[in-house]
């Protein structure tokens, strides 16, 4: 088994889940509680990775962070090397790719918090931000764990986006799914089978955890 690829994959999935926990919470909060009439536009953008082919998403990310884009130029000016085909580039792509897998369970959990509890907290002099941390987060804990675990599991198995943005660099961007593909291309079915089984076991274990904790895992958008 390619332990280096396994390490890269788990590092990528873990960092993606952590970043999405931080970035996804405010987005989900806004999507749940904003009364802006056009917010469905943002909802649709967040949900895009669910339906877009990973190659299409990967292609646009590649162009957006490439040396010809302002973002890509800015990054290579500051850091010293371009973003595509690096672990950081891959991380950014993974975050965008797994965004709905984090934001949607978060938003669904927030929407289930009884609004009268939130109002009660406000009348007790507790600010909106503190109410979020002291009341809303504990009340939506299951949904937050679900979102984090799903984005972790989703990143573990990503292939198209990784290939487009990360390439196939040993120890840097070669993930387990790429490794399996390489093994099959090299007709090493035994090696591919071992790695595939590991991925299957981990993914199944993660989903077991989620379903055991929360039965509404795949609820797409919160009911309103």
């Amino acid at each position: 088994m390619n332990w280096i690829a396994i390490a890269v994959t788990f590092k990528l999935a873990l960092l993606t889940a952590v970043v999405l926990l931080v970035v996804g919470l405010p987005i989900a909060y806004w999507l749940t509680f904003s009364k802006w009439r056009w917010k469905f536009i943002v909802e649709s953008v967040v949900a895009l990775p669910l339906v877009l082919p990973p190659t299409v998403l990967g292609f646009y990310i590649l162009v957006a962070i490439g040396p010809h884009s302002p973002v890509g130029r800015f990054y290579s000016d500051v850091v010293g090397h371009p973003l595509p085909f690096t672990f950081e580039g891959l991380l950014l792509a993974s975050i965008l790719y797994s965004l709905p897998f984090a934001v949607q369970p978060f938003a669904a959990a927030f929407a289930q918090v009884d609004h009268r509890l939130i109002e009660a907290s406000w009348t007790l002099g507790v600010s909106k931000l503190k109410t979020f941390f002291r009341l809303i987060i504990p009340l939506s804990a299951a949904g937050l764990i679900t979102g984090a675990v799903l984005s972790f599991a989703h990143t573990l198995g990503e292939f198209g986006v990784v290939l487009m943005v990360g390439g196939n660099i040993e120890g840097e961007t070669r993930t387990v799914s790429i490794d399996i593909y390489d093994e099959v291309q090299a007709l090493n079915y035994a090696g591919a089978a071992k790695t595939a089984l590991l991925l299957l076991a981990v993914s199944y274990g993660v989903l077991l955890l989620v379903y055991a904790m929360n039965r509404k895992v795949w609820a797409v958008w919160p009911q309103r």
Partner: protein
């Protein structure tokens, strides 16, 4: 000018109605204002405007020298900045927090020792000792209500807002707790606005009653004024009790209480009448009129008096009899003719003890 809560605001719900309220609640001598009316009359909306949870479309709310909202001047004070104690209808206790956690929720700016002391004080005041670590789901309705009250008053608010504080309780608990709540409100010395649709609750808790219907405040006055002298037919219909007088319980025999009203003695039901001051409440349709000297009936109360007013209302006639206090009776036109009732006639009013409702009145 004495400090007062002044409300003059309007809020429209598209497709429903417009809530418009003009009210003044004096603050220097804390009083309990009751917003009374049927459900859907706009009471809760008005209370939520006071809490800062609903924004009126126009008008202003002034609390003492602080403007809470002034739509024209674009001033909107958040609920956090109003220092209020708000208790919603279903209490909205935080399910993830213990009783202590709920009570101290709004006290996070206090040092730990002071916070602990305040919680201890409130647990004692509301008789919640022993339940410190319980979660709301483990509490009875009455206990939940007391936790919600403790949480609402923990920050020593300058105004208490209670939405149907007793409606989530079963009837026996409700009548027991209404007296306790009145005593607590008096003891706390905090002005309060209480929403209710229950007339007994309104009488028990209130110093001033504002009768609301379809978003409008129809009459504001003392309980006795509003119930005994409704401003118009609409108010009379909403309050539904034509005679409300103050009385003193002089004896209580297994729930059958003897009450003295202006020297007239009445028997009424009130097993849990606590204290001796009560409101005696009698519906006009529960009063029978008979000629003086007629036979014995099962009614426990026979009060003779003079007819002071006769008011025809369709097929019915409302007759006011002075029998030590003003008693209203509703009879048919035919009955009035058979009895030959005119102003000044002598008549006996018969009322069953069960129709004489006694509402405890303490403080």
């Amino acid at each position: 000018m004495a400090a007062a809560l002044t409300v003059d605001c309007r809020k429209t719900f598209p497709g429903r109605f417009t809530t418009a309220a003009q009210l003044v609640l004096p603050l220097d001598h804390p009083r309990v204002l009751i917003l009374f009316g049927p459900s859907g009359s706009g009471k809760t909306t008005l209370l939520r405007c006071l809490a800062g949870l609903e924004w009126p479309d126009e008008g202003r709310i002034q609390f003492g020298s602080t403007t809470w909202i002034d739509v024209a001047a674009n001033i909107r004070l958040s609920p956090q900045a109003r220092r209020i104690g708000y208790m919603p209808q279903d209490y909205a206790l935080f399910p993830t927090h213990t009783v202590t956690g709920n009570i101290e929720y709004g006290l996070s700016d206090l040092p730990t020792a002071a916070r602990r002391e305040r919680v201890h004080e409130l647990l004692a005041l509301l008789q919640l000792q022993g339940l410190e670590q319980a979660k709301p789901a483990q509490l009875s309705g009455g206990q939940q209500q007391r936790v919600a009250l403790a949480r609402a008053i923990a920050r020593r608010p300058q105004l208490l807002l209670l939405d149907e504080p007793l409606s989530a309780l079963d009837a026996p608990t409700r009548s027991r707790l209404s007296g306790e709540l009145r005593a607590l409100l008096t003891q706390l010395h905090i002005p309060a606005v209480v929403v209710t649709h229950d007339w007994a609750e309104a009488l028990t808790l209130g110093d001033t009653i504002a009768v609301m219907n379809a978003g409008q405040v129809l009459q504001v006055g003392s309980p006795q004024e509003v119930f005994s002298r409704p401003a118009n037919a609409e108010v009379a219909q909403i309050v539904g009790i034509e005679t409300v007088v103050q009385g003193l319980v002089v004896a209580n025999d297994n729930g059958l209480a003897t009450v003295s009203v202006n020297g007239t003695t009445l028997k009424g039901l009130g097993a849990d009448v606590s204290g001796s001051a009560v409101y005696v409440c009698i519906r006009a349709e529960d009063v029978l009129l008979e000629q003086a000297g007629s036979g014995i009936t099962s009614a426990r109360n026979h009060l003779s008096g003079l007819v002071t007013e006769i008011l025809p209302q369709g097929v019915l006639v409302t007759v006011t009899v002075d029998c030590g206090f003003s008693l209203r009776a509703m009879i048919t036109r035919g009955a009035r003719e058979d009895l030959g009732l005119e102003r000044g006639s002598t008549v006996v009013a018969a009322i069953k003890a069960g129709a004489v409702h006694l509402v405890p009145r303490s403080g």
